[in-house]
Symmetry: C2
């Protein structure tokens, strides 16, 4: 009998293989890995001071490590006592009376915080020491406002050494949605795997919505504070006092990260001249307007250190906004975008010098061939600070499907170095997402994140896929759907055509099932993994209300037919004989036809010995 460890190609599998502790409950990221020791030597930075200098997975797609880290941008009042080892906590002395507040400051002191511990639990391929060292190097952030930790926040990390994360945007606009709706969307996004949630409200009661999201979320909450700053006033009336007051208020509320568009400068404005679609970032365009009307430098940039000091006090993480991100393929990777990126690199250094954690936001529309360059440029210029990208879309002509156009770009972005992917929903460019759009956006982005993590070879990540393949090979439909990210949809789709869990499906029917034929071959592992046997053919269990709704919206079956499918678990369908095979019954297949495709013979084990010129009794493999 085949053992799960026998496949020589499963390099990412841990020595002590155990089944991942999941079923079909999508949700937090730790679902998809197995506990175990960290064993991928490619993940150890070559020539480093030891395994403690952990870096990002070293795949073919991943750009090389930047030459500098946050250790190169220490606060002016810290003293280095050992220049040769300046990338270690032991080499530094904090100023007298210093008390660490942010995760970055704790890491600089060599401290492992409870949040780092928790992160290591959620990223089984990382130790708490490795998490600390990545945070100290600035390549990982743990967005955990000390005021949000008082509620239900479950600490997580964002950084290329860890699994790829996804963010779901929500928020009321003046035209649509309310506070209650937003809390409902929060829970919905968390159910479908969002790792962080941004509240982008520009309408309704902003303060109440934000408060409600913070109190109800397990995930970090991000905001774009400029939205609150200009409610009830024109952008031209924005002052440094309003900026700092708003930042302070939201930091006290418990927001975990702030998008602040401090990278766009007055000198950049002329570079937008020939763009097809100017500035598409709301924050960026508002601040450009402010600069034009005041003829002054971007006040977010000129007051950066004051903003940093407020954020440090509560450990709010920066997500430095890309106010000049392209709004179409034509504008991607242009002089303006890169000029802003250089300034963002400087802001990263300035924030690190104030002890604040930093991630950096990136472009929304980028042709596939330019994605790798974009990721490399950010990684070098921002010294490895985690990159948080929106999409990017790889074509502009599919509005209504931009969760797909963009998750293609997102997968490639993560593979080439992005740490968090901001989802895009089917409503992008045309309206505000409804509940199902949030689900579709989350799922497209879980696909992107997981697909990239597999490609990057993050230890343990592919085990989930391999188990589903084992279930598929065993024709074990129940296990197949239990393991599926959205088992309800997969089950509903299956039962729509054939409501019996038997040893084929409606795609090919019995005689044509290649998986069944593979299973027949005696010496093959296919379909024979321990714990994956399908057992006897079963009636499909009947549809849950969720599954019924999925079929209803597809509109291919009448309500009566769906009702039958839903009620069938109580029905009288039974196996016809003692072979354990049910009839190939489906309510929607003509009975004669159904009989025709029903299994007529039990599994024939094909011995391949003769085909290899050996006696039938020889076991050739």
């Amino acid at each position: 009998m085949i053992q799960p460890n026998d496949n020589p190609k499963s390099e990412s599998r841990n020595a002590d293989y155990v089944l991942p502790p999941i079923g079909g409950n999508p949700g937090t990221s730790e679902n998809v890995t197995t506990p175990g020791s960290f064993a991928n030597p490619a993940c150890i930075k070559p020539g480093s001071a030891g395994a403690s200098t952990f870096s990002s997975p070293n795949s073919t797609g991943m750009p090389s490590l930047p030459t500098k880290t946050a250790w190169d941008f220490m606060p002016a009042d810290w003293t280095c006592t050992d220049l040769e080892n300046y990338e270690r906590a032991e080499a530094w002395q904090a100023p007298e009376g210093f008390t660490a507040v942010t995760q970055l400051e704790h890491a600089r002191l060599g401290t492992i915080t409870p949040q780092m511990q928790r992160v290591a639990e959620r990223e089984p391929h990382l130790t708490a020491e490795q998490v600390r060292d990545e945070v100290a190097a600035g390549r990982m952030v743990i967005p955990a406002n000390i005021n949000h930790l008082k509620y239900k926040l479950d600490p997580m990390c964002i950084g290329r050494a860890s699994k790829t994360k996804i963010n779901a945007n929500m928020g009321a606009s003046p035209v649509s949605s309310s506070t209650d709706e937003e809390v409902e969307k929060l829970h919905w996004a968390e159910r479908w795997g969002a790792d962080t949630v941004m509240d982008l409200s520009t309408g309704g009661d902003l303060d109440a919505t934000r408060e409600a999201l913070i109190q109800n979320s397990n995930t970090p909450i991000g905001t774009v504070p400029i939205y609150s700053m200009i409610i009830g006033r024109k952008i031209e009336d924005l002052t440094p006092e309003i900026v700092l007051d708003t930042v302070k208020h939201q930091a006290e509320q418990g927001v975990d990260y702030f998008t602040i568009h401090a990278g766009i400068l007055k000198s950049h404005i002329k570079l937008a001249k020939n763009r097809l679609i100017g500035l598409v970032s709301r924050g960026g365009s508002l601040l450009a307007k402010w600069m034009l009307q005041h003829n002054e430098e971007n006040l977010m940039n000129t007051h950066w250190e004051a903003i940093c000091d407020i954020m440090r006090e509560h450990d709010v993480t920066f997500s430095i906004g890309d106010g000049c991100r392209p709004g179409g393929l034509a504008d991607a990777t242009d002089e303006l975008q890169l000029a802003e990126l250089v300034e963002i690199g400087k802001l990263t250094e300035r924030a690190w010098r104030r002890g604040v954690q930093v991630m950096v936001e990136g472009p929304g529309h980028v042709p596939l061939d330019q994605i790798e360059f974009n990721m490399k440029a950010q990684r070098q210029i921002c010294h490895g600070a985690p990159f948080y990208v929106l999409g990017p879309l790889v074509t502009d002509v599919f509005p209504g499907y931009d969760h797909i156009t963009s998750c293609i770009g997102a997968t490639n972005a993560a593979y080439h170095g992005a740490s968090m992917l901001c989802y895009v929903t089917p409503k992008e460019h045309v309206g505000l997402p409804k509940k199902d759009d949030v689900k579709q956006g989350c799922i497209a982005y879980k696909i992107a994140a997981h697909g990239a993590d597999i490609a990057l070879g993050i230890p343990g990540v592919r085990d989930w896929d391999d188990d589903l393949t084992r279930a598929r090979a065993a024709l074990n439909w129940k296990k197949h759907f239990d393991l599926a990210f959205d088992g309800d949809t997969a089950r509903a789709f299956h039962d729509e055509d054939l409501d019996v869990d038997t040893d084929f499906c409606a795609m090919c029917g019995h005689d044509w099932c290649s998986v069944r034929i593979s299973k027949e071959i005696q010496e093959w592992a296919s379909g024979k993994a321990d714990g994956f046997d399908r057992g006897k053919t079963k009636k499909s269990p009947g549809l849950t209300p969720e599954q019924q709704q999925i079929l209803e919206q597809r509109g291919h079956l009448s309500p009566e037919e769906i009702h039958k499918l839903a009620a069938k678990a109580k029905g009288k369908l039974t196996a016809k004989d003692d072979s354990g095979k049910a009839s190939c019954h489906s309510d929607y297949v003509d009975p004669d036809e159904a009989k025709e495709v029903a299994p007529k013979e039990t599994l024939v084990q094909l011995n391949t010995a003769e085909a290899h010129g050996l006696s039938k009794n020889d076991s050739i493999i």
Copy 2:
């Protein structure tokens, strides 16, 4: 005023830029390009005998040209009279009495066929000479059975020098579907942009279905003849006579390409031993079973030349099947897959020697990091024969969403060298696709193909995206939706929230519209392209039946609300004043709120001169 040619980054644009001749009618591939001269020097093979030796786009992602071409595998009875120039028609003498039948044979004689002419019309960046030379080199096929040309077939090509193509599978299975349904699906697939259609029927009246598809299709039809060969018999009863009879019958019917799994050999069978899911190709697993039971070599391989000769007679193109394609990430790029690929390379050479056009099929589940290697391996081993890939899926755990998991892989495959992408629908792995699944599969794959073509820099391809960006910048919703691939869906999504075409959308509302702010800036091109002006704010035109159905299935609005949206074109909503601005009316927004977000001021043109230290009258840009 900005001219369409002003953007210096639009390298792919032709000198004589004209609007592409499309609206929102997705369909044939030529929609997305502009006529004009071929001007991309990167596409000329360096050091070639001249522009006539055209090769694939030379992007960063594209593997280098293979060292051999079909010119290295000429029929034994052709004579080379000029060895130095053996890659040109002039260097060869056909045997006496030779009459060319296949496109490959015509190309070898230097002839430009009417089909090559038509292909050049549909690929405006290629001349008919270039098409001929690509066909002669074996890097392009024109699947056009001479018997299908008698009906409605519109000749198209598959090859990396041309735009990426997509295939839609259909076909009745024993459990589901009928002939009429399949013809309806054919038209539906063609409407949504399928470039070829494969009839994979394994149930119903196979012969009648095939006949109906051939008579009704504008697109080439492919089949897997082994499916017909075993209807009514066991696989072990398959004989060479049955194989040749079936191939002959389908060739006479007018099938344009055949998938034949001749690459899997007896010696390969033991290599599947440790695979998690054995063989998932129906043809591959059936032939493996045949070999095991007969203890003989694959009869498709041993009778290859006889099959070739039948196919040549009607110009049927090979699509050499990959019977050993992986069925899960765990089995990707393994020894078995590569062993079969080597044999497929030999079959390619053998087919070329018989004058038959060849494309080659590729894997269905491949982690993102292995896709480039897979494409390179195929390109070298099969000497540049067009690669026709299924997906590949980049993760296995999202059944119900495999159109998405696979279109990510497909985009990358095309970017790295695949010429045609076989779609995967949401029903993959769980059942047979319904009509809407066909649409969803086609759209996901049009996204993949178009996204890859943009990245490859195929001349003219991005113009479509740039026009949509111009419409978006001008806030010209009508043009936006006319240009969208699926305008009905985009329009329905827009009107769901806000049924007025005004200078913002429901995503941000008026005050927050970055695109509106960009347009305000006097000296920027954004939103000011000729022919894209939105004119006065208009009522949205009311929903078509298709758009109503899209909203119905989303289920967010009541039937009454949808009815209102549909009927509103006849309604009484008018612009409130002479400014051309309609009120920000929406039936689904509270009237006070609507008033609040309505435009209170006309477009303010922001002059940026002062911000740059110049007099307001100076035009700085």
